[in-house]
Subunit: 179 residues, 2 copies
Amino acid sequence: MTIQPWKILSSTHLRENIRLDRCELPNGKIIEGTVLEFGTWATVLALTKEQEVVLIRQYRHGVQKVIVELPGGAMDVEDESPLAAARRELQEETGYTSDRIIQVGCVSPNPANQTNLIYSFLALDVEKNGSQQLDETEEIEVFLKPLDEVIAMAKNGELLQSMQVSTLFFVLAYLERIS
Amino acid sequence: MTIQPWKILSSTHLRENIRLDRCELPNGKIIEGTVLEFGTWATVLALTKEQEVVLIRQYRHGVQKVIVELPGGAMDVEDESPLAAARRELQEETGYTSDRIIQVGCVSPNPANQTNLIYSFLALDVEKNGSQQLDETEEIEVFLKPLDEVIAMAKNGELLQSMQVSTLFFVLAYLERIS
């Protein structure tokens, strides 16, 4: 069996980044589905020399809760690389910087209905080099936790965002802590 | 600093499950954002007695590619539990079943713009007990790979979906393979 792609019969946009596709499936069935045309995302697990992770706390409107996350965001500058986006988001959201930022993984947030990828980075030896530079829609609290505590938090669901748990997987694989 | 939630000023729907909220931020700024009102999802890493993982291959229209995934889907039956959904999706998509299905994690696919959660399960000692029961929009190829190979695939990005990498994290944590 060779699985065939769907054929797009027509596309319209409900909003700038929400596309509605009418598709013909290999079996002839016609269906409609929405596709989210988001830009590339980057997220970074930033470790201090003391093996503490730089975490943030912010309100997230999908779940309508204040939650704990790793820093990260979208590549919103023209021609910005994922690495540059990770470095910029880390600095803007937390004030921490590092010269040692390593790409550890790249996945799709949801291949069924999103076009974009998310890159995962590990930043080593990060230091606080300045203050946050938040845009006016952001309110972010920064705090540190030992890496082992962050792993425990992830296990019990306190690191709520799946893309950040996958980032932790990639970091632990890079650090050879997965057997 | 206590981070405050946003206040919803008005909500409309662009489509049945795509809500457009107009919100007032704690600083008084007004913004508009879309929220995807998806149902609860479940995904399952199913292991045979020989420690092989039941994988599927299917076309995913967001990335417009045929990709490798773990079985899973939405709780589309009234009052279905996440565990029942995982069991049903495993059986429908692959024909494999098990009496030993354990919840290992629960996260948000994207807390910024989705309302739903995704539950991760580990199924042990799965056996092929029947044939696939696909709906007419599904075309799914089933194959087995040793768990160690699936971990290697995840590390190099072949398990493309972030929620399935996070499921692998939860499974490996449960199996005490994360140090």
